[in-house]
Structure formats: structure tokens, C-alpha cells
């Protein structure tokens, strides 16, 4: 199995699959073009690592790219450089083979090489298989231990804030 950076159209398909897994497909508004512009120009807003299987293991539809991790660099006012993993996904028929672990390991390596001190990400509380997997890899639940809640201001609320 190969892990490599992703200069092509696969991310949109796997992002849609991940959204369906989380039952929120109607919230996915990005188009192929947005992803290409924002991820693959000179100053990308995100990076993607893709897991690809050899020819003989491809899916019935002929797909060889069977998982991905999308991440970007962030910053902690406490410890400095950090890395944020926004998405981690492996197609169902390729789970349980260490692909997720390998993708995360790659993100960790890249983060450490860039001088990062921590790796953050979010998980849905109803996604028990994922939570179990992450705990087994050595992370902790910041929301449960420190009580941090993720907040967002968008749409009308953002417009109002800009006009106060």
C-alpha cells in the first residue's frame, strides 16, 4: 500500500463518503473546484495524504485510492506549532488492515518534522469505533477532561458580528 500526497480528484469523492458515514451529506457544499483551488495552489489551506492499493486489490469500480487524511498546520498559544487532522477516512472494505493507523502515523511524522508539539482532531461522540481506535493509539479526550467545547459563528451570526 502506498501513502502519497494527493494532486488529483479523489478527495471530493472520499469526502462525500465520509460525510455519508457521519449522516450529514446535505451539509457538504464544497465542489471539486473549491477543493482544487484551496488545496493545490501555492499557499494551500490544507494538505492531503492518500492511501492507494496495488492493482490487484482495487475495488469492483476500479478504485485504487481507498483512504485519506486531510490536515493543516495550526498553532497553540500554550505550546506553539501544532497539526490539525480535519478528516481521516478508510473505505469500509479496507478497514481493520492498519490503513487508518498508517495514515495517522504519516500525519504524525510530517507534524513532528515541521516542529509540531501536538496533533488535534474532533470525533463525533456517537462514533464509538473511531473513539476506541483513537484511545488505543494514545490520545485523550480534551472535551471530556478539560471541558473544551468547539464553537462556530457562521452565516447571519457572522454577518451581525461584522457589523456590531
Amino acid at each position: 500500500m502506498l501513502n502519497h500526497p494527493a494532486p488529483n480528484k479523489e478527495p471530493a469523492r472520499v469526502v462525500q463518503e465520509l460525510a455519508e458515514y457521519e449522516n450529514v451529506a446535505e451539509h457538504v457544499k464544497l465542489t471539486q473546484k473549491d477543493l482544487e483551488q484551496n488545496g493545490f495552489t501555492n499557499n494551500p489551506f490544507f494538505h492531503v495524504i492518500i492511501a492507494e492499493v496495488p492493482e490487484q486489490h482495487r475495488t469492483k469500480e476500479g478504485q485504487r485510492k481507498i483512504g485519506f487524511a486531510l490536515y493543516f498546520y495550526s498553532y497553540s498559544s500554550f505550546v506553539g506549532r501544532a497539526i490539525y487532522m480535519e478528516d481521516l477516512y478508510v473505505m469500509p472494505e479496507f478497514r481493520g488492515k492498519g490503513v487508518g493507523k498508517a495514515l495517522m502515523s504519516k500525519v504524525a511524522q510530517l507534524g513532528l518534522a515541521a516542529g509540531c508539539h501536538q496533533l488535534d482532531f474532533t470525533v463525533l461522540n456517537r462514533n464509538k469505533p473511531s473513539m476506541d481506535f483513537y484511545f488505543s493509539q494514545g490520545c485523550f479526550d480534551v472535551t471530556a477532561t478539560i471541558g473544551y467545547h468547539c464553537m462556530r459563528c457562521k452565516g447571519e451570526a457572522l454577518k451581525q458580528l461584522a457589523q456590531l
Binding site: H149, A162, L164
Partner: protein, 171 residues
């Protein structure tokens, strides 16, 4: 009292670290701040900044006095593959004695404007659930609590776990 909101410059780094530590103390986590002035300088004002910072300074009572930095916000741009660019507010703090003067609202207004100008679809941040004043401050302004409403939990690998995970597997 006049205050001025401006982009932080390299000379502001000592004040930025001072305010980071004050906020950490307010959250009872000051022992967790390991960031140094040197790192803040390299990471914020080098070729590829990891963060951006705006500060609020007030003019001293005498015109001969240096202005004093009394508030700041540290932010960077993130990415939500469902809806696009987000502005992530990492730190936002106004010194105790300068609260209630509209400095905080001014900072948020500036950042919201910036978010819209740079085509971000949202502004994101975390708040400690026991920080009631802050939670109410944000909810009053229309922020959604994604942890409560959608069940998102923030997970973290610290440095040691990160090193273990990055190690090549035995297979």
C-alpha cells in the same frame, strides 16, 4: 480613553507572551505554557506564519508615555472540507481592568469582517464549558456550540504520544 486596534509587529512579541500567560492563569493552566518569545517571533513573523495576531493598545495619560498593550487575538486559517475556509480564533483576551469598554467586541468585529473578506464561511474557536462569562458572551452573539449540539469532541495527541505514533511499525 482612546484605544487602537492594529496588526501585531515583531516588537509586540513580549506583550503577546505576557497576555498568553495572563489568559492561561485565568484558565488555571499557566504551567502548561511552554511557548517562548523566540518561537513566537519565528512562528508569527517568518516566511510562513503559523499564526496572525492583532493587538489593542491604549494611549497613556501623558503623551510622553508609551502606549500599553491591553488586549489581543491570535488566529489562523483552517479548512472544513464540507464548507471551505474557516477563521480559527486561537486566543482572545482583554486585561481584566480594561474590560467592559467595548475592546473585546471591537476585536471580534474586526475578525468577523476579516473572515468575510477572505471568504471564510465561519469563525471557529473553543471555550471551556465552565467559563460561563465567555460561553454567554459568544452565545449572545450567535455562536453555536458544536460539542453540545452535534456531539463533536476535541481529541489530542500530546508530544510523547505523537512520537510513538510516528515511529515506523514493526511489521
Amino acid at each position: 480613553m482612546e484605544y487602537k486596534l492594529r496588526k501585531a509587529e515583531p516588537r509586540d512579541v513580549p506583550d503577546i507572551l505576557r497576555l498568553v500567560k495572563e489568559l492561561a492563569k485565568y484558565e488555571e493552566m499557566e504551567h502548561q505554557v511552554t511557548l517562548t518569545e523566540k518561537e513566537l517571533l519565528e512562528d508569527g513573523f517568518g516566511d510562513t506564519p503559523f499564526y496572525h495576531c492583532i493587538i489593542t493598545e491604549i494611549q497613556g495619560e501623558k503623551s510622553s508615555e508609551d502606549p500599553k498593550v491591553v488586549g489581543f487575538a491570535m488566529y489562523y486559517f483552517t479548512y472544513d472540507p464540507w464548507v471551505g475556509k474557516q477563521l480559527y480564533l486561537e486566543e482572545f483576551y482583554v486585561m481584566d481592568e480594561y474590560r467592559g469598554l467595548g475592546i473585546g467586541s471591537g476585536i471580534l468585529r474586526h475578525l468577523s469582517n476579516l473572515a468575510m473578506k477572505t471568504r471564510c464561511t465561519g469563525m471557529m474557536f473553543v471555550v471551556a464549558e465552565n467559563n460561563e462569562p465567555s460561553v454567554q458572551f459568544y452565545k449572545r452573539r450567535g455562536a453555536e456550540d458544536l460539542s453540545q449540539e452535534e456531539g463533536w469532541r476535541l481529541f489530542r495527541f500530546d508530544k510523547d504520544s505523537l512520537v510513538k505514533m510516528a515511529a515506523p511499525s514493526e511489521e
